[in-house]
Amino acid sequence: MAKQPILLGYFEDPHDLMVAGDKARRMGYDNLDAYMPYPIHGIDETLGLKKSWVPAMAKTMLVIGAIVGFAFQTWVHTTGWQIDIGGRPLIAWPAFIPITFESAVFFAGWTTIISVVIATRMKPAGHKFIDRGFTDDKLALVIPYEEERSEQIINFLKENGSYEIIKVDDY
């Protein structure tokens, strides 16, 4: 899939990156991104990122996991293999609570990690990396490259304290 080229402005200070990101958003640049070795607090709002869908997915599966867990136990004791223990009810719901809970958590846990992997498009191999320093100490603001506005974007990054600006076509 061909991607839109991007302009990368390197910053030294996370604070400067945040300020520049905030200005860029206000100036109307879309699809902003950044590269950083740790999650800078509040950068998602600064860059105008949409709320992540991961927690909602996990919570949905939490409920489904609980339903599946309870239903399975009920099925086993009413249909699968009825055991009459001293005339006690077959659907002994209080006794089903621990496994219902564990089942919910099990579903939600797997859903969370799988969702994160899907949302961040992680895969075991076949990646291209722009700069190996992004997992060490380098920070960069990403603004999508536009032919007619390129001059303007580069000037904007320079004015806001970027010490190096590069264009990346393939990433």
Binding site: E12, W81, A92, F101, V105, T112, S115, T120, M122
Partner: protein, 480 residues
Amino acid sequence: MAHHGHVEKFPEDVYVDDQGREQFVSPDLSMTDVTDKIVAPLEGKIGIGWWAGLLISLGMLSMLAFSLVTQLINGYGQTGINNPVGWGVYITDFVFWVGIGHAGTLISAILFIFRQKWRNSINRSAEAMTIYAVMCAGLFPLIHTGRIWVDFWLVPYPNARELWVNFRSPLLWDVFAVSTYFTVSTLFWYQGLIPDLATLRDRAKTKIRRFIYGYLSLGWRGSARDWHHYEAGYAQFAWIAAPLVLSVHSIVSFDFAVSLIPGWHTTIFPPYFVAGAIFSGFAMVQTLLIITRWALKLEDFITLNHIELMNKVILLTSSMVGYAYIMEFFMAWFSQEQYESFVFFQTRFQGPYAWAFWTMVFCNIVSPLPLWFKSIRRNLLISWIISIFINIGMWFERFNITVTSLHRDFLPSAWDYYVPTLYEWLTTIGSFGLFFTLFFIFLRVFPVVSIAEMKAILPSPLGNRPKKYKTAKTEAEEAQ
């Protein structure tokens, strides 16, 4: 401890930022320093100490292999289990190891929810301990069933005889609780590792290292969008792991509390077990981290403040456990229930297992008392010794609960005394071998402290900035 006289970077002066908030990393460190220091033990030469530790651990692990093989040949007769004491050292070990695991999840999930920054430097190693401890724990019920080769019957699966497991049994709840706990802790831990594995990938000098870490880090790039989903997922994990950790030891306590044995059948068990689990878990974290921080030179990240804060948690949970002990005796007296009173006032205080009871009381209640003093909480040697006492005491607590309630059956003619055999001790020592072997391998393979999370709490990511960040000491000097 050789490092006792070591000069500490943070003796008394606690770093605070310009808004007066305490900092848990030295402001002298830049982001690159953090990466270099944490990765150093993984990239440098292997010290002789590491080899020695690994070899000793492997030696202990071989005892486990030996006792497991002999049990396959001899059967359950090689243990000291008798009638009425059907639960012995294996169940004690099981509860002990599950408990050890609890500190890791408490640190990684519950302290995360409470936004405790000091968790960032200890969560990785504590979570690793959780996973290894749960592996050790899981081993024991499987051995305890006696017929290891049919342990898969514990899992509900469609079979030709159309049999299903009994979901109304607390022992089955355990199967689900422990396996879910293991799975979710491992996933949570792995997610936390991904950015650090990417750091290792990007630093890798050999092709094979780059391939392995590259594969494991799933091509992590560290873009803001990736972090955005990552953080949401991490917080989600914390919110499901927090109730999970409370549920696991509650369910373990149900193994006892749901039965009708005097001394077991009490409603105090779930909170009492959870407090005990956190208590023993923190003691184990303390035991390992005091040595690890010295051996791997991690004093910049695991500071004396961390040791002190962990000691405070130990002190609090010690008090909770002590309260539970007293409450058990109070209820035995208050209920005027003759069997309950007999267990507590005849068999625990005095009886043939009184030595186990008093060992437990001394180790869990008396030995942590010096921690009320700040100077002791910040003393590495004494903290370490106390943590060892607690490890021993918490093992005896489980032994005490399991064995003393059983050895005096309802009919005096059935009374008996249980002595663990050599094979049971070999299995126990062997489980420590498994735990330490895994821990030593962990020290060489994964970053012991979370690199990305340390960067997130750096007072000044660019390195030393004396103007902005002051120590309490310099502030006091300025005020004069």
